[in-house]
């Protein structure tokens, strides 16, 4: 693993200690890591691997199995575009494409200035407003392509 070692907070270290020998510890620890850093970096996963003596590949298998876990650092504003059935049918993918074009961003990526990150997510439970996107937690419904520059501007 890379030499730039990650620092875990004292609280996280205590938490790992508490969970060390309990069943299901890996998920709990990774959960905690994500809540501390906002995502689980390669370095963080490696540190967990060392602390719990679980092979790194096993940890990565778990991280990629659950959609909950984020493997890249989110931007200051994380953009989530819904790709649930309703939103998809109403053109969710066109929304993703447009945002991608405007910000020069791929799904799962982050802009160079670290401001925006882009995610495609499953149904977020407001299908009536399809297609739906959220930025930094704020929900935008019935989004059209033309509205997107305006929406993004609010956060620029």
């Amino acid at each position: 693993m890379s030499e730039n070692k990650i620092e875990f907070s004292p609280e996280l270290v205590v938490f790992i200690d508490e969970w060390r020998d309990k069943p299901g510890n890996l998920i709990m620890v990774l959960h905690k890591v994500q809540s501390e850093f906002g995502y689980v970096s390669r370095e963080a996963a490696d540190e967990v691997s060392k602390q719990l003596d679980i092979p790194f590949a096993k940890i990565w298998g778990v991280l990629t199995f659950y959609h909950f876990f984020k493997l890249t650092k989110p931007g200051d504003y994380n953009i989530q575009v819904c790709m649930g059935t309703a939103c998809y049918l109403k053109g969710g993918d066109a929304i993703v494409d447009e945002i991608g074009n405007l910000l020069n961003l791929e799904v799962g990526g982050i802009t160079d200035d670290g401001k925006f990150s882009l995610e495609a997510v499953r149904c977020i439970g407001c299908c009536g407003l399809a297609p739906v996107m959220t930025i930094g937690g704020e929900v935008f419904g019935k989004v059209t392509k033309n509205q997107i520059p305006g929406i993004l501007k609010k956060f620029a």
Partner: protein, 581 residues
């Protein structure tokens, strides 16, 4: 014992037997795809579905243990349809590139498709576009052909304990891959190739370098010298439909000359040389106050790579003796070149190996150029050389046996058994006994280190000097031994062993990652028996009795561990990172 019925045939089997095994006992074949006898059933494919007779309930034969009174139907029209549908679905995510696939002719999926008479593809094709990972010097991962049986992950984790591969992602987009989008070569992979020989399809395979040998043979300025490892002589037979365990040494020599190889040598000679050096090193460690013990064998590059990555604190315990292949390469370009007056620059040194890790070993560090050139230029696995023979129209089984070229071809039975688990230990004991006591071991059969157990331990009594030995068979078993040794080392306690052999592949190199497909424990035992029959037939069964070995020491190396021996036949180890990022 439990009484069950398979298609109405009663059979008594041990508790815990699976339906699949019970059926095999009465000669009934149940098709399987993900199942492999080496592994815990993973039951991912569903090909092995059968029915319980009384209630028509389906079960997966590979993973269902029998119970008293169980009555199973293994085949009926409905089961046929279910299995056919599973196959068709599997094929819909698989490319139709059989004609150009490295597994064409021995692919388990292709064989099943043929058996089931699949003639059309009712499901829309959805083949993933993931690119092949060619970063490793030994192994290609081609996930777009993967049928997600899970064998490679299980092998790498359960049998090898390396954890280079895991299931990454979920559902449709699951891939078998190293973590964090890393390339295989940047992962802890030790290149043993066990994932290859367990993959049912062409999704993991050796880096094929047969073209390199063709080029060298066609080059009039090159003297092509080929050595062959102990296990290749027994593995190659299966590639040409000879009975499993057949020893084809003389036929291999003949076939190599037929394809235009100039010099035919034998790695077994190198193995005898290894015993001289490694055995002397052991005796030196045992008799020199303050030496590092135990001494680990170092002929398996899979194990060496693992040690350097997982237990670098034990690098100093690895024998500094090079592997037989590297010794043979070094003396080919020095000693042989001198006696035959061949310019070493023109020698193209090729090694036929049962092993994919050997492709990496030849470039492991600068000591692999001890002759001033690459001591070994090219490694081909058993499967590759068989492929080349076939393409050249060699009728292997019909060849008349030939002899090896001297003076670096003659070998002893001790050299031959290097190919199987316990063999290096046995060969070492035969010679170490002589080195320690000055006498000869009367019964050369050291049976306590034979067999397929994961860790074999014993004490060898050399006229009062007791040597504590251990043999590790299969890389996953090495952790417990390394931890034990390391714990003693850290606590400043006496070492728990004196000498430890490690072979990464279960059964040893006879079941290496470059050997023919279809290996299970029965095949392993038959290949091992083949090597022991060669040993028993040999005029000499102890490395130090080999006249050519005696000659190379008197004419060239002077004595084991001499300055010259050190510069040509010994190596060094470094700490390596598990992940290169």
């Amino acid at each position: 014992m439990v009484n069950v019925k398979i298609n109405g045939i009663p059979v008594e089997v041990a508790e815990g037997t699976t339906v699949l095994q019970a059926a095999k006992e009465v000669g009934i074949y149940i098709p399987t795809l993900c199942y492999h006898p080496d592994l815990t059933p993973f039951a991912s494919c569903g090909m092995c579905v059968c029915k319980q007779e009384n209630n028509n309930k389906m079960l997966r034969a590979c993973s269902t243990p029998v119970h008293e009174g169980l009555s199973v139907i293994t085949d009926d029209p409905e089961l046929f349809e279910v299995r056919k549908a599973i196959l068709e679905m599997t094929l819909s995510t698989h490319p139709n590139s059989c004609l150009t696939c490295i597994r064409n002719g021995n692919c388990e999926l292709q064989t099943l498709a043929a058996k089931f008479g699949i003639r059309e593809q009712p499901f829309e094709s959805r083949v993933s576009k993931i690119r092949a990972d060619t970063s490793s010097p030994s192994i290609v991962l081609d996930p777009h052909k993967c049928i997600k049986c899970g064998r490679c992950v299980q092998v790498c984790q359960e049998l090898q304990g390396v954890f280079a591969l895991d299931f990454i992602g979920r559902g449709d987009s699951t891939v078998m891959s190293p973590a964090a989008n890393l390339k295989l070569n940047d992962s802890p992979c030790v290149k043993c190739g066990q994932c290859i020989v367990h993959c049912p399809v062409g999704a993991i395979y050796e880096k094929d370098e047969t073209a390199e040998l063709r080029k060298a043979i066609a080059d009039p300025n090159k003297v092509v010298a080929v050595q062959m490892a102990p296990s290749v002589r027994v593995g190659i037979s299966e590639e040409f439909d000879l009975p499993v365990g057949t020893v084809s040494t003389g036929r291999l020599y003949a076939a190599l000359r037929k394809i235009g190889v100039d010099l035919v040598f034998d790695t077994n000679f190198g193995a005898d040389l290894t015993i001289m050096e490694e055995g002397s090193e052991l005796v030196k460690r045992l008799t020199t106050e303050g030496s590092v013990l135990p001494q680990f064998t170092s002929c398996c590059p899979g194990w060496v790579d693992y040690c350097e990555k997982f237990y670098p604190e034990l690098n100093e315990n690895l024998s500094t003796a090079k592997s037989p292949m590297m010794m043979q390469g070094a003396i080919t370009k020095t000693y042989y070149s001198q006696v035959s007056k061949t310019d070493p620059k023109t020698i193209y040194s090729v090694a036929l190996m049962p092993c994919t890790a050997k492709k990496f070993e030849i470039k492991r560090n600068d000591t692999m150029k001890s002759s001033g050139y690459d001591d070994v230029d090219l490694v081909l696995t058993t499967r590759e050389i068989a492929r080349l023979f076939r393409a050249n129209g060699i009728d292997f089984a019909a060849l008349k046996e030939e002899e090896c070229d001297s003076p670096i071809g003659e070998y002893t039975g001790a050299g031959t058994i290097f190919g199987n688990t316990g063999g290096v230990m046995e060969a070492a004991v035969r010679t170490a006994y002589h080195l320690v006591t000055g006498d000869e071991l009367e019964d050369v059969n050291v049976t306590s280190v034979r067999g397929l157990d994961g860790v074999k331990k014993g004490v060898v009594d050399m006229e009062g000097t007791k040597i504590r030995v251990a043999v590790v068979n299969g890389l996953a078993n090495v952790k417990e031994v390394c931890d034990e040794v390391l714990a003693a080392k850290k606590a400043n306690k006496p070492a728990p062993y004196d000498f430890i052999e490690v072979m990464a592949c279960r059964g040893g190199c006879i079941a290496g990652g470059g050997q023919p497909y279809g290996t299970d424990d029965k095949v392993r035992q038959e290949r091992i028996a083949g090597l022991y029959s060669d040993d028993e037939k040999s005029t000499y069964r102890k490395s130090h009795e080999n006249p050519s070995i005696q000659k190379i020491y008197s004419d060239f190396l002077s004595e084991p561990l001499s300055h010259k021996a050190h510069s040509l036949l010994h190596t060094t180890y470094t700490k390596r990172k598990k992940y290169n990022v």
